[in-house]
C-alpha cells in the first residue's frame, strides 16, 4: 500500500487506520532519512493527533479524499505551531502562527503532516545546496543532489518515506527536482492554487504543486488544493475541473508540440536518446508530433534572472529583525537591519537581493526590469502561438540527470539548469515532469530523467490525463527503485 489513492481507499474502507499508516510513515522516516536528509522538522505529535481525528471522522461515516495519507510540506509553507524556516538562518526558530490554504485544504481532506522538508534557502536554487539548515541527498545516488529548490520534498517522496509532498515552483523548483528524483512533480497554472501561507519569493511566479510517485496521486492532491481563495487576491475565481480519474488509454487526436529551439542535439547523447524514445513513445500512443517554435524562449533565463530577483528583493525586505525572525543589534535601527540581514541570509539570497535591487534602482529600472517584463510578454505570446498548433508541449525537464554536489559552484551555471522550465513559468502555464527513463550516472548507477509536459493556461485536466496515459504506457515511473527507499519496489 504505497500510493495516496491506495491509502485513502483503505483508510476510508477502515481496513487500516490512519494512525497505523502514520506510524508506518514515521517508521519510514526513521529508517532512511538519516541518509537522505529530506526533512528539517518531523511533526510526529501533530501527525498522530491528525491521524486520530481522521480515524474519528472516518468512523463517523465521512469519506475523505486523502484519508490518512502522509504528507510532507516544503518548509516555506506555514503550518500552525510548527517551525517554518525557509531553510534560512533568519527564520531558523520561527513558529508559524497560522496554516496556509493549500496545506489546510489537504489536512481537511484527511492528509497527515509528517514533517517539513528542506529547500534551497527561500526557494532560491536548483540543487538544495543553498539550504542553511541541512543537506539533502538524491536517493538514487547519495553523491548527487536531489535538485531544487523543493529538493527535500522530492527526495522524501522518491525514497518512499511519504506518498505525496508539497513543493513550490518559481522557475522550475518542482519540475527539476521531480526529474532528478524520478517522480512526478506538477506545477499548476499560476493562480490555480492559493499562495496564502507560502512565504513569498517572486510573487508573480510562485506556485504550489504536488510531488507524487504516480500521476494519479499528483492529480488527487491537486484537486483538493486547487481553487479560488479569498486570502490570495491572485488566486483565480474560475471553476476547477476534477482531474483525477479523467484518464485516457492513448493519445489519439492529441497534437504534441516539440519545440524546435529545444534541439536534443544540445544534450549529451545518452540523455538525447532517452528523449527521442520518449517522443517515439508518444507517437506509439497515437499522438501526432508537431514542430512548434518558441523563438523568444532562449531569452527566458535572462528575463527570469531580472524579474525574479526584483520581486525577491522587494518581498524579502520584510525580514528586518523587527517583527519576527533573527535580530542582530546595531548602533541604530539602520545598522540593525543591515547586520540582521547580513547574518541571516545566505550568499545566494544576498546575490539575488543585490541583483534585484540593482535592476529596480533609479537609472536601471527601464533598461533591466521593464525590458524583462516586455520580454516576458513576448515569451508568453510565443506559447500562445505554439498552442494554436498543438495541445501539449513535450520536452526535457532538465538538460542532465542529477549532478554531483559542488558541481555548479558558479552561480550562472546553476541558473542555466532551469533553461527548459523557466519560459513556462514566465508564461504562467501548467507544467509537470513525469519519469521517462534512465541514463548511467557518473557512478554507474541508473539515474532518472523527466519528460516535461506543458499545456495552455488552466488546461490541467488534459495535461494530467496525457501524462497519465504516457506513464501507464511506458511504466518508467515503476521500472526501478532508488538506492535508498523505505519501501522495496
Amino acid at each position: 500500500m504505497r500510493t495516496a489513492v491506495d491509502i485513502a481507499g483503505a483508510v476510508n474502507a477502515r481496513s487500516v487506520s490512519a494512525s497505523e499508516v502514520v506510524d508506518a510513515a514515521l517508521g519510514n522516516v526513521a529508517a532512511v532519512d538519516d541518509r537522505v536528509g529530506a526533512f528539517l522538522t518531523i511533526t510526529a505529535e501533530l501527525a498522530r493527533d491528525c491521524a486520530r481525528r481522521v480515524d474519528e471522522r472516518v468512523a463517523a461515516g465521512e469519506r475523505l479524499p486523502l484519508a490518512g495519507v502522509p504528507l510532507a510540506v516544503k518548509d516555506n509553507m506555514c503550518l500552525a505551531g510548527t517551525r517554518t524556516t525557509c531553510a534560512s538562518k533568519i527564520l531558523e526558530h520561527w513558529i508559524a502562527p497560522y496554516t496556509g490554504t493549500a496545506v489546510q485544504r489537504l489536512l481537511d481532506a484527511g492528509a497527515i503532516p509528517i514533517g517539513k522538508t528542506n529547500l534551497d534557502e527561500f526557494a532560491m536554487g536548483s540543487s538544495c545546496e543553498n539550504s542553511a539548515l541541512g543537506t539533502t541527498k538524491n536517493p538514487w545516488d547519495l553523491t548527487t543532489v536531489p535538485g531544487g529548490s523543493s529538493g527535500g520534498s522530492a527526495a522524501a517522496v522518491a525514497s518512499r518515506q511519504v506518498p505525496i509532498a508539497l513543493g513550490s515552483d518559481t522557475g522550475g523548483s518542482i519540475r527539476e527536482p521531480a526529474a532528478f528524483c524520478g517522480i512526478t512533480g506538477f506545477k499548476p497554472t499560476y493562480g490555480r492554487v492559493s499562495r496564502y501561507g507560502l512565504i513569498a519569493f517572486a510573487s508573480s511566479l510562485d506556485q504550489i504543486g504536488p510531488f507524487a510517485t504516480t500521476v494519479a496521486d499528483a492529480a488527487l492532491t491537486y484537486d483538493v488544493m486547487a481553487g479560488w481563495d479569498r486570502m490570495d487576491a491572485t488566486s483565480v475565481p474560475r471553476e476547477v475541473e476534477t482531474t483525477y480519474g479523467s484518464w485516457r488509454e492513448d493519445l489519439r487526436g492529441v497534437r504534441v508540440g516539440i519545440v524546435r529551439e529545444f534541439d536534443l542535439a544540445h544534450l549529451p547523447d545518452a540523455v538525447a536518446e532517452v528523449y527521442k524514445r520518449a517522443y517515439a513513445d508518444l507517437e506509439r500512443l497515437d499522438a501526432s508530433l508537431v514542430d512548434v517554435s518558441l523563438p523568444t524562449a532562449a531569452y527566458g533565463i535572462s528575463t527570469y534572472y531580472l524579474i525574479a530577483p526584483a520581486e525577491c528583493s522587494s518581498n524579502l525586505a520584510r525580514f528586518d529583525g523587527v517583527r519576527y525572525g533573527l535580530r542582530v543589534e546595531g548602533a541604530d535601527v539602520t545598522q540593525t537591519y543591515e547586520k540582521t540581514r547580513a547574518a541571516g541570509f545566505g550568499s545566494e539570497v544576498k546575490r539575488r537581493i543585490l541583483i534585484g535591487t540593482y535592476a529596480l534602482s533609479s537609472g536601471y529600472y527601464d533598461a533591466y526590469y521593464v525590458k524583462a517584463q516586455k520580454a516576458r510578454t513576448l515569451i508568453a505570446a510565443d506559447f500562445d502561438r505554439a498552442f494554436s498548433a498543438c495541445d501539449v508541449i513535450a520536452g526535457p525537464a532538465a538538460s542532465s540527470p542529477a549532478f554531483a554536489f559542488n558541481a555548479k559552484s558558479d552561480p550562472l551555471s546553476m541558473y542555466l539548469m532551469d533553461y527548459y522550465t523557466i519560459p513556462i513559468s514566465l508564461a504562467g502555464l501548467p507544467g509537470l515532469s513525469v519519469p521517462c527513463g534512465f541514463v548511467p550516472g557518473e557512478n554507474g548507477r541508473a539515474m532518472p530523467l523527466g519528460l516535461q509536459l506543458t499545456a495552455p493556461l488552466f488546461a490541467e485536466r488534459s495535461l494530467l490525463a496525457n501524462a497519465h496515459a504516457y506513464e501507464r504506457a511506458t511504466m518508467h515511473a515503476f521500472a526501478n527503485v532508488p538506492e535508498i527507499s523505505a519501501v522495496p519496489a
Binding site: 497554472t189 531569452y299 535572462s302 529583525g321 517583527r323 519576527y324 544576498k350 535591487t357 541558473y415
Partner: protein, 97 residues
C-alpha cells in the same frame, strides 16, 4: 547596457551589510550575470506591453468585512524584542544615549 555594479551602494539600498570580500565576490558574479542578461538588448521590444503577471485578473477588490486576524499577543510573541503592546527597536530619532 552592462556596467560595473557598485555593490556597496546597492547593498546600502538593500539594507545589507557586506564585507570587503563580499564586495569583490558579488561584484564579479553580478557582473557576469549582467553580461549574460545583456543579450536581452538584442530582443526588439518597441511597442511591446510589459507583463507584470499572466493571469487574466485586474484590480481585485472584495467587501471590506471584518474577519478574525492574528491576535496581538501572538504577533508580539514572534518579535525578537517587544515591550508592552509594542515592537521594541533601536533608537530611530536623536542621539544614542
Amino acid at each position: 547596457m552592462s556596467e560595473k555594479i557598485d555593490v556597496r551602494y546597492v547593498a546600502k539600498l538593500a539594507r545589507l551589510d557586506v564585507s570587503e570580500e563580499e564586495v569583490l565576490t558579488y561584484g564579479a558574479q553580478l557582473g557576469n550575470l549582467l553580461t549574460y542578461v545583456d543579450d536581452l538588448s538584442k530582443l526588439p521590444t518597441d511597442g511591446v506591453t510589459a507583463t507584470a503577471q499572466v493571469v487574466p485578473l485586474r484590480n481585485v477588490a472584495r467587501d471590506d468585512d471584518v474577519r478574525p486576524a492574528l491576535d496581538r499577543e501572538t504577533v508580539l510573541s514572534m518579535a525578537p524584542q517587544a515591550q508592552g503592546a509594542y515592537f521594541r527597536v533601536p533608537r530611530i530619532i536623536g542621539e544614542p544615549d
